[in-house]
Symmetry: C3
């Protein structure tokens, strides 16, 4: 018997050339139990990768399953007007197909794996750029004909996004979340229980929040935010895809990025950047101890990952300062340890 990294029963969309545009997996499974794998193999043999069972196979599969939710999905796949797929990922290497790429994005948004917890290597090449419309996913080469047709037939064909990633909520709404403008959260985001994403908030794929957070700023690809941390309106975290270099940004617990603030370094726990201040890795910062004595001028990157820091721009001198609740001696030791 084989083991699998993950699997999913999906319903998706193909273009006129019968290439996959996207796949919806209502209930993806991470590390499936032996009984589930056995049931699948009893019907489909030693299959792996992307399979498209026929109606009879889906029904046989439904009959072999113990989990009632999966049984229901398999039955729905059997009768679906749209193409249904069974995707089996043997191990977590780079995804090989559009259905596999979509399955991995689902694992993140269903909170089955955390950001950086699954290989997404080469995913851009596997995700076709799609027109996301009120009539579903449409291949860009087929769009203008569809638009003309819709007009003449008095239907509104609205193109809401043209992107490789769809919006997450058309695939899953994780429990305990509010997402005021869903256009701003991509499939592949990990939205923690208790997170509210306000209208100005944004979460890219392979990024998100551990738990309770108020997100009114931008969580770039690869950025993970700890429990209890808030991002103020229009605050910015530098991504690794563009501009942010190679440092992976993260925020620890109970951090606060003020409105219109930003960070180009990872922050530890209980750090604050005041509203309107942008810290990049190269920003020269005067470090002050718990008595507000000057300790040392450092580049912000030397403070990466440290906790209990408050970054401000002194409004009298214009100097960027970092205050802490620690004494100068402790701070100096920590900076040494960091080098």
């Amino acid at each position: 018997m084989s083991t699998f990294h993950s699997l999913g029963f999906g319903i998706g969309t193909k273009n006129a050339k019968l290439e996959w545009l996207e796949v919806f997996y209502p209930q993806p499974v991470l590390a499936p139990e032996a009984s589930l794998v056995d049931a699948i193999q009893s019907v489909l043999g030693d299959a792996t990768g992307t399979i498209e069972p026929n109606r009879e196979q889906w029904l046989a599969l439904a009959g072999a399953l113990e989990n009632p939710a999966l049984e229901k999905i398999a039955k729905t796949c059997a009768e679906s007007v749209r193409p249904a797929v069974l995707t089996l990922i043997a191990k977590d290497s780079k995804p090989e197909s559009t259905p596999e790429a979509y399955l991995k994005l689902h694992l993140l948004s269903h909170r089955l794996v955390k950001p950086h917890g699954v290989s997404l290597e080469g995913i851009f090449a596997l995700l076709p750029n799609v027109a996301w419309t009120n009539e579903g996913a449409i291949d860009l080469n087929e769009l203008s004909d569809r638009q003309l047709q819709a007009r003449a037939q008095n239907r509104m064909l609205s193109v809401e996004s043209v992107d490789k990633f769809p919006k997450m909520t058309d695939y899953v709404v994780p429990t305990g979340t509010r997402i005021a403008d869903t256009a701003r959260v991509r499939l592949g985001a990990y939205v923690g229980e208790g997170t509210t994403i306000m209208h100005e908030g944004f979460i890219n794929f392979n990024a998100g929040t551990q738990g309770k957070s108020m997100v009114e700023g931008r969580i770039s690809a690869g950025v993970f935010v700890g429990e209890g941390s808030d991002l103020g309106g229009s605050s910015s975290t530098m991504g690794t895809l563009s501009g942010g270099g190679n440092i992976i940004i993260s925020l620890g617990e109970e951090c606060l990025l003020g409105a219109n603030a930003g960070t180009g370094i990872p922050l530890g726990d209980k750090c604050t950047i005041e509203s309107g201040l942008y810290i990049t890795a190269g920003t020269k910062v005067m470090l002050l101890d718990d008595q507000k004595n000057e300790v040392k001028e450092v580049k912000a990157r030397e403070l990466a990952g440290q906790s209990n820091l408050l970054f401000i721009r002194n409004s009298v001198t214009g100097r960027v300062e970092c205050r802490t609740n620690k004494s100068a001696v402790v701070l100096n030791n920590e900076l040494h340890a960091n080098n």
Copy 2:
């Protein structure tokens, strides 16, 4: 005969447990006239709160009404496929039900009351978190089934928002407004006649603009902006719900928040904050008189509510400065008066 604070005839949505998810009141009434109350009571007796008349009662009510617009609505309620409701608020205390909460939000967006003009105490608990979709409001517990069903039936079920507040324009578009991206204005916003809200603009509930304004920034919950004031792109007003403490922020008339600017203090009339500058209550500001002489270093909160101020960060010294068109003597007197 009783008097009422407000009332509305509504059509709404319930979940599978028959709990209200939302209510649409096409024409809410503030301080209804005696004749209207008489007509309602002639049909429904001494009712108050949330009533669900049956078809005959709606038709009888329609027959008793003098106002043709309300009569038409009552007739529509009689024939509606979806649940219809008559909501009567006796006096302006904290709302008691979802339909009452929705009626109060309507009063704001219909410009019948101004921000802070009606009690919204405890409103979050009365507003269920809802999936707002192209098929209407859906209970979050019922969503995943609906999504699977829609897929199999080849329909696109698009979840546009997951929030306690719906977008305003699905309930009312106030006259004389433009709202480029309606996802960014919540029901309960007060959008003044002559206001244009550009794509980056945002207005929360219990907040808004008095009259003509160009809004390309964020008007947080509780913030009210005077006639002729503009908010530049991504500019920020601190809210009272998070981060802004207890000071209620407001802008007077003819203020300008530059692009990417922000304020954590209320501003009087004709104030400007230059692009990119964020003023918080604790920002130390050098006050300059009409001759650009230094008057005094103050915390920004001491300037709260004053008029004719121009806030900049001196680009040579990095110091935050506040210029005014008044002499040093006048300025000092005003600061004293403020303490």
Copy 3:
């Protein structure tokens, strides 16, 4: 035989008074060839401006056309449920009607003309303010009736925008682009081949990108961005409609606006503004040469259009500085040349 500036076969929407609300031209034509003009005139005579051919005329036109794509559109116009229009613009003067205004916006978004390449004088007056809904364009005076009706009939009528300009992608998706949230790109935007507009990006009409760009900031009306230039998240370009005065902002090639940065001056090639810094025309800037020696304090407007500049705010002194890879002598000469 006449010549024309441009023409289009369109299908549109009228209100109850039979006034045009909007027009969709699937394939607008700039500088039509003689054969196309001949074909049109053989059916419709010396027509110009906005014509509404009847079914027979559309079919005759389809028969006279050589271009198969236009022939197909003409046939679709013949059978369209919605009003079809033939718009002929004789020369590029100010637009005279709603269909002409829409044709010119199409020319921009189809990349047939560049920003500032066609007269849009007085266009605001020709574009009615419209409710853009999932049931198409609706006159604002007809909206509340439609909303009530939809509710009673259990349909969701969603008002996605209330604006004079529709979103571009409902009219055309230019090749080689990604537009993550299409609500943020107006018809009349010029989106270059290879441009990705992320969720925070925005492009107004008569503005856009020459070619490959990553747009996570705001490209205001009139602003054009050169090949290879990127705008970071929430970065801002001042528009000429409000706030930016009379200087038309542009970016040359390979520029970078950092996240939350902004510019009120046009930039040449290879310029960078660091994250969080807003440069306005009046900002005093210390110019530093390739050795980081101070050259001169200038107002930013004196640096307008120059290349190879790096703008930062010195985080130790708070001073805004402009660094370059040129020697002091060269810089001084260039500043002279600029005066």
